[in-house]
């Protein structure tokens, strides 16, 4: 309790600075993701459906629901359990899809909304802080804001969640100016790092699931992925950027990998089990794709994580590292991230002041309140100390040979 009070006092002193840095909401969706306040989100769902959803939480069965926020209510939305390792029958992660039962229906300009149940992150803040930094670094990251979730006709408090902007057409339009391109969600299928999987499309189809233009021919959808992987395998290091240029914005990939390593993300582009937790978006056929970060609740994992962690396991990063300009880009991005992350200590404290009461009252969180407070302290320690560590390690990084297997 004392620790919480101290945190609140610290936040109070920082509040004007943090608040003044927030842009003014320009649209209803901006207001929904405005992280200067703790939101109240009400999912109206029939009691029997809610019980069924929790009982069958491993399935993707859709249930009808209405969603209400600040008196704005959308009817006939679809709701289902979501997640991979985070699926829970006690505190289900939820995907709300507003056009599931009404074609073309949107709410606040959104097609869908993810409610992250935060069960894999005792601090309940890693997703929000990670996306904050990624966004600040110019990476096309989804917006995140905390919300108390209320369920059913009784408006029962169902726990503290984060509302995460889903990677779909409205997100693409906001980030890229067009939603007409090819969006793929990477589906983890085991330890894979862009190795050549052969000429068939099937191995790529199971890993890169189309989220737009699903009805297009397999060759249209997957040939660019296969050709990207072949280019990575075949191109000499010195021409890797040109070789993959038709398929991938390599510089954006390098920058995102660097920021993820700054964040000590152990399940991302350079994850412990290969690629994971990202989308790929090609704004048009023939245009290079951009990676989009997703699911960042495994960040802030290891304060001393080397900033070149796992670069040696990824064939693309191995070749990129041999190109001085790309190596420089990676290291510069690390240093830039360290500077941009200066806001994080204040952000953590501000967010904690915002959600501490809701987190304590969360009746279904998987850990006790003391554990949450301890995790927040650990997070605070990380964001205070990580910048100096990365800066120190990055100083000599440009002359470093990559460790081949630091997983």
């Amino acid at each position: 309790m004392t620790r919480r009070l101290l945190l609140c006092l610290a936040v109070a002193s920082l509040w004007p600075i943090a608040a003044s840095a927030q842009p003014q909401p320009a649209s209803p969706a901006d207001a929904l993701f405005d992280d200067s306040t703790l939101h109240e989100l009400w999912v109206h769902i029939n009691a029997r459906d809610w019980a069924d959803l929790r009982a069958t939480y491993l399935e993707n069965t859709w249930y009808p629901c209405d969603v209400e926020w600040r008196g704005l209510k959308v009817r006939n939305a679809g709701c289902r359990s979501r997640g991979f390792g985070s699926r829970s029958p006690v505190k289900p992660g939820l995907l709300l899809q507003f056009d599931h039962y009404v074609t073309g229906q949107t709410w606040l300009g959104l097609r869908s909304l993810v409610l992250d149940n935060l069960v894999q992150d005792p601090s309940m803040m890693k997703e929000r802080m990670s996306m904050r930094l990624l966004d600040r670094m110019g990476v096309p990251a989804p917006r995140v804001a905390h919300a108390r979730l209320h369920i059913g006709s009784g408006r029962d408090y169902a726990g503290l969640y984060t509302m995460v902007e889903n990677i779909d057409e409205p997100f693409l339009a906001r980030q890229f100016g067009t939603d007409a391109g090819y969006l793929y969600e990477y589906r983890w299928q085991g330890d894979y790092h862009f190795e050549d999987l052969g000429a068939d499309f099937d191995p790529y189809a199971v890993r890169f699931e189309p989220r737009t233009r699903r009805d297009e021919a397999a060759a249209t959808l997957y040939a660019p992925i296969r050709d990207l992987v072949r280019a990575i395998a075949d191109a000499p290091a010195e021409s890797i950027e040109a070789a993959v240029a038709p398929y991938l914005d390599l510089r954006a990939f390098v920058r995102q990998a660097a920021v993820e390593n700054y964040l000590a993300e152990w399940d991302g582009l350079l994850g412990y089990a290969g690629l994971d937790n990202f989308y790929l978006y090609k704004p048009a056929a023939g245009a290079p794709g951009t990676v989009i970060p997703w699911d960042k609740d495994n960040t802030f994992a290891w304060l001393e994580m080397p900033p070149l962690h796992n670069l040696g396991t990824n064939p693309l990063m191995v070749k990129a590292w041999q190109v001085p300009a790309l190596r420089r880009l990676y290291v510069d991005t690390l240093v830039e991230a360290a500077a941009a992350a200066d806001i994080l200590p204040a952000e953590v404290q501000r967010a904690w002041a915002q959600v501490a009461e809701a987190a304590a009252a969360d009746p279904v969180k998987p850990v006790g309140t003391a554990d949450v407070e301890a995790a927040v302290q650990d997070l605070l320690h990380f964001v205070n100390a990580r910048g100096a560590i990365v800066r120190r390690l990055a100083q000599d990084a440009t002359g470093t040979e990559l460790p081949q297997a630091s997983r």
Partner: protein, 403 residues
């Protein structure tokens, strides 16, 4: 195949009366009923919906024993239906013409079209309303009779499980859905106002009205309405409460001409089915059909047409032309909200389908019937979105033998 079917039937038809009937004075009458039906289809929908191009859709054997012309015992089995082979299994006691009691498993008295024997219908398939909305066959007790010098017939029955089991499905992978519900109470009245009129043209005009009420269990148990070849036409909606059905029909026959029509409506309550556990407006399924037939070769229209000049006896049999138009739709009250296919929507979508069926029936002999139908289904936007098709053409040929 037709020749093979026709030959034995023709042989037994020489005697005129039912070939498998036995009499022992007035005390015992025994009829053996046998029927076989083969369909060939060319359907303009996906193979998953109607996978078989050639299908034995009926293979039944039945026994009808009538004792002292008062007690009637019937049992019938369909050998192609392993899960539920039994069809009619009942005893009927005639106390008086105005009062008969039937108990066992038989068709619930509701839809005129549905009550007709499958061997007697004028098209390959029954109307959508009769096959999809009306209750079917179940275990129950019924009181029935004729009063007012046969001008009025009545049927009142109670059935165990709502008469929801579809025992004559369109042969698709999905259509065998058992839609069990609570006990069903049903009543039907048939009025033949000019039964004793001098003008023959009016004698066979009758009207029927029916009502059925049961309960439907909580869940996505709204009527599982399918298009002609099994495409799901209506979404499954969350329902709970009473299911009330009403029907009205008219039927007329005169010489070689026949005309008929029927309208059926079903209303399902949705108590406590809202997203806030509140009551939702009921969901309504309705349908109607109108049809006309003409015996081109001049025979009188009857359930079992007997050709004046049978095949292999100097003639080519009887020919009948038939046309039917029908519509089936689902909907509910307009609550001012956008209509949705959500199973808990207050304003549900309104899928509907109109169907034209043109048919030719050939009766080479009394016991054999060959039907050819061309069917055109037209769906509105909601139904087309659910089924993926706005218009479907199909052709069906059916050959059946009924002894």
């Amino acid at each position: 195949m037709l020749v093979a079917l026709a030959a034995p039937a023709t042989a037994v038809a020489q005697g005129g009366a039912d070939p498998l009937s036995f009499r022992a004075g007035r005390a015992v009458e025994v009829d053996v009923d046998a029927s076989l039906r083969v369909d060939a289809r060319d359907v303009g929908v996906s193979p998953e919906s109607a996978p078989d191009l050639l299908d034995v859709s009926r293979a039944r054997l039945g026994l009808d024993v009538r004792l002292w012309r008062r007690l009637d015992l019937q049992v019938e089995r369909d050998f192609r239906d392993a899960p539920q082979p039994w069809r009619d299994v009942f005893a009927n006691l005639e106390i008086a013409r105005a009062l008969e009691v039937r108990a066992g498993r038989f068709k619930a008295p509701f839809s005129t079209e549905r009550l007709n024997s499958g061997l007697a219908i004028d098209f390959v398939y029954r109307s959508l309303a009769a096959s999809q909305i009306a209750p079917v066959r179940d275990t129950g007790v019924m009181v029935h009779g004729e009063v007012l010098r046969r001008r009025v017939g009545y049927q009142v029955g109670v059935f165990r499980a709502g008469g929801e089991e579809d025992d004559e499905p369109v042969p698709t992978a999905e259509s065998r859905v058992t839609r069990r519900s609570g006990a069903l109470v049903t009543g039907r009245a048939v009025l033949t106002p000019w039964a004793r009129a001098r003008r023959r043209a009016l004698r066979d005009l009758n009207f029927a009205a029916a009502v059925a009420r049961g309960t439907v269990p909580e869940g996505r148990n709204s009527l599982d309405v399918r298009a002609v070849f099994g495409d799901r036409l209506f979404p499954h909606l969350e329902v709970n409460g009473r299911r009330t059905r009403v029907a009205g029909s008219a039927d007329w026959r005169h010489g070689p001409f026949g005309a008929a029509g029927e309208w059926i409506r079903s209303t399902d309550e949705r108590l406590g089915q809202g997203t806030d556990d509140d009551d939702l407006p009921p969901v309504v399924a309705s349908g109607w059909h109108a049809q006309a037939t003409w015996m081109v070769t001049g025979e009188d229209k009857d359930d079992r047409v007997a050709p004046d000049r049978p095949l292999l006896r100097g003639g080519a049999g009887a020919i009948e032309a038939a046309v039917r138009f029908e519509e089936i739709r689902m909907g509910g009250p307009d609550t001012g909200e956008p209509r949705s296919r959500s199973p808990r929507a207050r304003s549900v979508i309104e899928p509907s389908q109109r169907v034209w069926t043109l048919g030719v029936n050939w009766y080479p002999v009394r016991w054999v019937k060959v039907q050819a139908n061309v069917i055109r289904e037209d769906r509105n936007a909601d139904a087309a979105a659910l089924t993926g098709r706005a218009r479907v053409w199909s052709r069906v040929v059916r050959a059946q033998v009924g002894l």
